[in-house]
Amino acid sequence: MGMAAAESQFHVLAVDDSVVDRKLIERLLKTSSYQVTTVDSGSKALQFLGLYEEEQQQQTNPPQTPCVSPNNHHQEVEVSLVITDYCMPGMTGYDLLKKIKESSSLRNIPVVIMSSENVPSRISRCLEEGAEEFFLKPVRQSDLNRLKPHIMKTKIKDQQNLEKLEESEETQFQSSPPTLPLQEHQQQQQQEQQPPSNNKRKAMEEGLSPDRTRPRYNGIATLV
């Protein structure tokens, strides 16, 4: 009950050129209470993630027209996981995986590859490139149970990054150096006592409630 509610906040982007397989994976994911977007190609996936525009902008020098897409800084929907078919015309699932892992903004999104062919070299290549899992098709409900841990792991990592980001923003806004380390330290302490800042709250709304996330985060932090 509680678990379903938490999962429904996670958004999965499913990529497959086969219309039949898109329908199937969408249903499988929805049955597991995920929110789902399906696209039929790797390039549409990158577009949805907001990467396509980012790249074009870098290539065009100087940028001609401002980006048309509303996605140019950030994807509108926060994608918790990408699950992609391996064998697709044009950009393969492996190419898509590499693009995601090469992008500083997308790198942390877990990627799962699906393939109908059991080719060991292919599987190890994908895992080496940073795929979290490799599912053989047809994908079954039991396979989907393996998605959750990867999403949770990323949530925790994202939160750590967000905190780091906040710290560095604070340093930028502060004027003079000598007292800085102390101030920073104090602020950090205050921060821990105060209610979370806007950024943090946003991240938490999209994930779990603060009181559930916090202990888990601490637990893992002490382990590391």
Binding site: D17, S18, V19, V20, D21, K23, L24, R27, L28, T31, C87, P89, S116, K137, P138, R140, Q141
Partner: protein, 154 residues
Amino acid sequence: MEVGQMQRSLVDYTKSLFLEGVLDGQFLQLQQLQDETNPNFVAEVISLFFEDSQRLLNDLTRALDQPNVDFKIVDAHVHQLKGSSSSIGAQRVKNSCIPFRNFCEAQNIEGCVRCLQQVKQEYFLAKNKLETLFRLEQQIVAAGGSIPTMELSF
């Protein structure tokens, strides 16, 4: 026909499709994904499969009809057909794609043409049988009965 009798004949008919190898366990997986929130899921997936397969079979016929057959393209179409037939549990269609891909790799046109005929035959067989299955289901629903759930015992 009374509902009980219709339900029994649906069960028998479904069993025969498994015994003949027309369907495999993946079809039961589809049925398990169908519930009150998605009462037509299986029929929707199967109809997507029909449309997609028909397109692929047309593309394959055309590709093998070219003076210079591009075996890469042929193989890509067969790969897709194999994938989608496997996803809905159309076992015999899926199996007929295996030798087809081997002939693609060997660049054997005659072999490919023969395999295309075989795949078409299996596809139309599966299509007819699945349409019959859905018709039986609709008759039961129309008569006020419920669709008996299949056991996973075979």
